[in-house]
C-alpha cells in the first residue's frame, strides 16, 4: 500500500471520465458529425452548395424565426402552468394530491398529434363541447388554432408536465426551516414563495426551462398539424418539407438545417449553464421536508382550477380518443347502436404486429431509461462537482439528438450503422438495437438535465465525508450520491420512459419486421385511414402505462423518498 498511493484512486476517476466522454461522443457527437459530413460532402463530393442554398433561402430564416418564437412562447407557457401547478401541489394542503399528480403527468403518454387533433376538434365547428355550450362557430370560420398562437398554446400545455416533474423533485428537497425562517421574519406566504422558494428552485426551474425549450424547438407533430395549413413553418417541418420535395440534394439540405437546430439547442443550454454557474443553491441541512401552506378559504378555488386544467389537458383528448376507438369509422357519431369493440378485438387478438410492438416499446423504453440514468448520474457528477471542462464541452452535444427531428436522427443512424461495425463486424441495421441506440442518444438530454439540477441542490460535504471515510469514487457514487440524487434521476427516468414508449418519428424510419414499436403501428394505422384501430391502440397504450405507473406505488417502501412524484 505504500508504493504509488493515490494512483489507483486517481485511475478510477480518470477511467470513468474518459469512459463517459467516449460514450457521449459515440451517442451524440458521432451522429452529428456524420450529418455535418453529409452536409459538406454529399455523395462523396466536397461541395458547399447545399450550405449556400439553405443559408441563402429566405424560408430558412423565417422558419428559424418561427422556431424561436414557438420555442420561447411554448416554454414560457409551460413554465407558467407547470410551475404554478408544482407549487400548488407541493406546498399547499390541497386534497387528493397524489391522484392529481398522477392525472397531471398522464398527458405525457399521449402522442402530441393526438393532443393537437383533439384541440383542433374542440375549437372547430364540429366540437361536441362547444355545441353543448351553444357557442359552436358556424361552418367555414377559420379555426383559431391554425396559428402561431395555437401552436404555442398546445406546446405549452403538452410540455407543462415536464416542468412540473423537475420542479416537484426540487421542491421536495426544500427544508422546512428555510420557509419558517422567512415566515418568522414577517413575510406573507406569497412573499415567501417569491423571495425564498423560487430563487432556491432556480436549478430545477432552469432544468425545466431548458428541457422545454429544446422539446418545443424539436417538436414536429404539433406544428405539422397546426402550422402547415397556414404555411407557418418551423425548422422541423421545413426539414420534412425538404425531404418530401424530391430535391436532388435533399439529404444535404436536411443535414444543414439539422445542424442549425442543433446549434440553437446548444446555445440554450450554454445560457442555462451560465446562469447556474455563478450562484449557490445548496441547502445544507438534512432537515424535514417543507410542510404545506394552508389555503383555508382559497382551497376549493385552487382545487377547482387544478382539476379543470387536468380536464382540459387530459380528459378532453382522452375522451376524443376513446370515442374514436369505439366507433366503426371516423365521423360516425357515438351512440349505443354504433358503439363497437371491434377495433379492440382486432388490435388485441388479430394483429400480431401490435403484440410485438407492445413488448418492443416497453422493453426499449425501460432499458433506455435505465441506461440513461446510469450514464447521467456519473456524468452530472463530473459536470457539476468536478467542473471538467472537456466533459462540459462534449456534453453540450447531448442536446442535439433531442432537438433534431426524429426523422433526422433516424437518417444519421442509417448513415452510421448501415454497414457492419468495424472490428466487431456486427450489423445493427434492421435490428431492434439500432432503435435502442437512437432512443438512448435522443433522450439522454431528458435524463441529464434533471440530474444536473439535483446535484446543484446537494451539499458536497456529504460526498467529502464519504471520501474521508475511505470510499473510492464508484462506491461513493453508488452508496451516497445515487440515493441523494435518486428523486431527480427518477423524474428523468420517468420522462424518458413515457416519451420513449410512444416514440414515433425515429422508429418510423428504422423499424423492421419483429422490431415494430407502438408509434410505428399507430402511424401506419393512421396513414391507412384506420383511425379507429389507431385510437384503440392509443387507448390500450395508455391503459398499460397507467397500470405500470400504478404498480410503482407497490414499490414505495423500497424506493428512497421523493422518487415517485405521485406519492408523498
Amino acid at each position: 500500500m505504500a508504493n504509488a498511493p493515490g494512483v489507483r484512486g486517481r485511475f478510477e476517476d480518470y477511467a470513468l471520465l474518459w469512459l463517459l466522454t467516449a460514450v457521449i461522443a459515440v451517442l451524440s457527437a458521432v451522429p452529428l458529425a456524420r450529418l455535418v459530413l453529409e452536409a459538406v460532402r454529399p455523395g462523396g463530393v466536397f461541395s458547399l452548395d447545399a450550405i449556400r442554398r439553405v443559408l441563402e433561402s429566405a424560408t430558412t430564416w423565417s422558419a428559424t424565426g418561427h422556431s424561436l418564437v414557438v420555442a420561447v412562447g411554448g416554454t414560457l407557457l409551460a413554465v407558467t402552468i407547470g410551475g404554478l401547478v408544482a407549487l400548488a401541489v407541493t406546498l399547499t394542503d390541497i386534497r387528493a394530491r397524489n391522484a392529481f399528480v398522477f392525472v397531471f403527468v398522464m398527458p405525457l403518454l399521449l402522442a402530441p398529434q393526438v393532443v393537437a387533433l383533439a384541440w383542433i376538434q374542440m375549437f372547430g365547428p364540429s366540437s361536441a363541447l362547444l355545441k353543448m355550450l351553444g357557442i359552436a362557430p358556424p361552418l367555414g370560420t377559420p379555426n383559431p388554432l391554425y396559428s402561431p398562437g395555437g401552436i404555442v398554446l398546445v406546446l405549452g400545455v403538452q410540455y407543462s408536465p415536464l416542468v412540473f416533474l423537475t420542479l416537484r423533485a426540487g421542491l421536495r428537497a426544500l427544508p422546512q426551516e428555510l420557509i419558517e425562517a422567512a415566515l418568522a421574519g414577517g413575510a406573507r406566504p406569497r412573499t415567501v414563495v417569491r423571495s425564498i422558494v423560487v430563487p432556491l428552485m432556480t436549478p430545477p426551474l432552469l432544468a425545466g426551462v431548458a428541457l422545454c425549450f429544446v422539446s418545443c424547438l424539436g417538436n414536429f407533430g404539433i406544428p405539422a398539424l397546426l402550422g402547415i395549413p397556414g404555411n407557418y413553418l418551423v425548422l422541423p417541418t421545413l426539414i420534412y418539407q425538404r425531404l418530401a420535395g424530391l430535391g436532388p440534394d435533399a439529404l444535404s439540405q436536411v443535414a444543414v438545417l439539422s445542424v442549425l437546430i442543433g446549434l440553437i439547442a446548444m446555445v440554450g443550454i450554454v445560457v442555462q449553464d451560465a446562469m447556474l454557474a455563478r450562484r449557490d443553491f445548496r441547502t445544507t441541512t438534512a432537515a424535514v421536508e417543507a410542510r404545506a401552506f394552508e389555503l383555508k378559504r382559497w382551497r376549493p378555488f385552487v382545487e377547482g382550477a387544478l382539476w379543470t386544467l387536468s380536464f382540459l389537458t387530459l380528459m378532453l383528448p382522452l375522451v376524443a380518443l376513446v370515442t374514436m376507438s369505439l366507433v366503426p369509422a371516423l365521423g360516425v357519431p357515438l351512440t349505443a347502436k354504433t358503439a363497437t369493440l371491434d377495433s379492440y378485438r382486432f388490435v388485441l387478438f388479430m394483429h400480431a404486429a401490435s403484440h410485438r410492438a407492445f413488448v418492443n416499446s416497453f422493453s426499449m423504453a425501460a432499458v433506455a431509461a435505465v441506461m440513461i440514468v446510469v450514464i447521467a448520474v456519473p456524468l452530472a457528477y463530473f459536470l457539476v462537482w468536478r467542473r471538467s471542462r472537456l466533459l462540459h464541452a462534449v456534453s453540450l452535444v447531448t442536446e442535439a439528438p433531442y432537438a433534431l427531428p426524429g426523422v433526422v436522427v433516424g437518417i444519421a443512424a442509417i448513415l452510421l450503422f448501415l454497414k457492419p461495425l468495424p472490428i466487431v463486424g456486427i450489423t445493427l441495421y434492421n435490428t431492434i438495437w439500432i432503435i435502442l441506440f437512437c432512443y438512448v442518444a435522443r433522450f439522454l438530454a431528458l435524463g441529464l438535465r434533471p440530474v444536473v439540477s439535483g446535484y446543484h441542490q446537494l451539499d458536497r460535504t456529504l460526498e467529502e465525508a464519504a471520501q474521508i471515510a475511505g470510499a473510492r469514487l464508484f462506491r461513493r457514487l453508488a452508496t451516497v450520491i445515487l440515493p441523494l440524487v435518486a428523486p431527480a434521476a427518477a423524474a428523468g427516468a420517468l420522462l424518458i420512459f413515457l416519451t420513449a414508449f410512444n416514440e414515433l418519428t425515429v422508429s418510423a424510419l428504422l423499424w423492421s419486421t419483429g422490431a415494430e414499436t407502438l408509434g410505428v403501428v399507430f402511424f401506419s394505422f393512421q396513414q391507412g385511414g384506420d383511425t379507429n384501430y389507431a385510437s384503440a391502440l392509443g387507448v390500450l397504450t395508455i391503459c398499460v402505462s397507467v397500470l405500470l405507473m400504478l404498480s410503482t406505488i407497490l414499490l414505495v417502501g423500497r424506493l428512497p423518498r421523493g422518487v415517485l412524484p405521485w406519492r408523498d
Binding site: 364540429s126 437518417i411 418510423a508
Partner: protein, 332 residues
Amino acid sequence: MKTIARRAALVAFAFAAALAAGVAGAAAPKGKLTLYTSQPEHDASMTIAAFRKAYPDVEVEFFRSGTTEVMGKLAAEFAAGAPKADVLLLADAATMETLKKDGRLLAYPGANVTGIDAGTYDAGHTYFGSKLVTTGIVVNTAAKSRPTSWADLDKAEYKGQIAMPSPLYSGAAAIMLGTMTERHDLGWPFFEKLKANNAVAVRGNGAVLTTVASGEKPYGILVDFMAFNAKAKGSPVDFIFPKEGNPAVTEPVAILKTTQNPDAARAFVDFILSDDGQKLAASMGYIPARQSVGMPSWYPAGVKIHVMPSNIPKIVETNTGNLKRFSEIFGK
C-alpha cells in the same frame, strides 16, 4: 446407323429436357426479397401474402412507412453506399421518375404490360403503375350542397370549407398540382381562387379525411380509395368525380439497380402486373391498372372516369418551381 441416330436423338432429347428442367428450376425465384413501400399496412401484408402463394420459395421482408420516410431512408442508404431494398412500391410516379433520373432503377423490358394504358408505365420500362388512384372531391354527408366540378370549388358558397392535401408534403398532391396547372381550364388561377376561398392545405390525404369525416370542414380534395373505404366502414362521407376529370397517381412498382436478387424482384413485378395481382388490387378497393380484370365494388357501374393525363417527366422537372409558387400562394 439407326440405333446411333436414335441414341443421339435420345441423348439430345434428354439433354434438352434436363436443360429445360434445369432452366425451369433455375427460373423459379428463391431467396430473400426486400420491399420498401408506402402502401397502407394491411394492403402491403395482403400483397405480400398473395405473392408468396405464387412464389413460395421467396421470403419477403418489407418496410412500410410514409412516402417521405421511405424516401428519406432510401436517400440515407444510398448515401451510406449500401442500399438494402430490392423492389419499391411507392405512391406516385414523380418519386420514381426522380429515382430513374438518378440512375437507381433497373429496367425490366420483359414485364407484361398488355392491356395496361401506356401512360401508367415508364417508356424505358423502369417503373410500372400498379393501380389507378384518382383524386376527386370528398364531401361530408351533412354538407348542404355538392360541387360537381373543380371550378365549383372556387364559388363563394364554399368559402372557408375546403381542405386539400398540401403538395409540399404529399407526392400525390404534387402530381395533382403539376397536372392541373397544365390545363387551360384550370391552371394556376384555380389554385389562386382556392386560396382566395380560404381553402386550407393540410399535411397529406389522411389529414383531409380526418378533417372532412369529423365535420371540421365539409369539403375536401381526396384520393378515391380512402373516401370509399371510409364510407364502407360507415363514415359519413361521399366521393364526387368532378366534370373536368380526375388527376391520378399510379402507385408504381420498380426494381433497384443494386438489387441482390434480380430474379425474385422481376417475379414481384410480374405478380403485381399479373391478372391475379390486379384482381387483388381491385379487391382491396383500388382501380386496377389493367381495367379488364374488373373494377372495385364501389365503382359506379357504367361510368367512365376521365383521368387527366400527366406528363410525369415534365412534372418532375417543374416540381421545384411549382412547389415554390404554391407555397407563395398559400403562405401568409
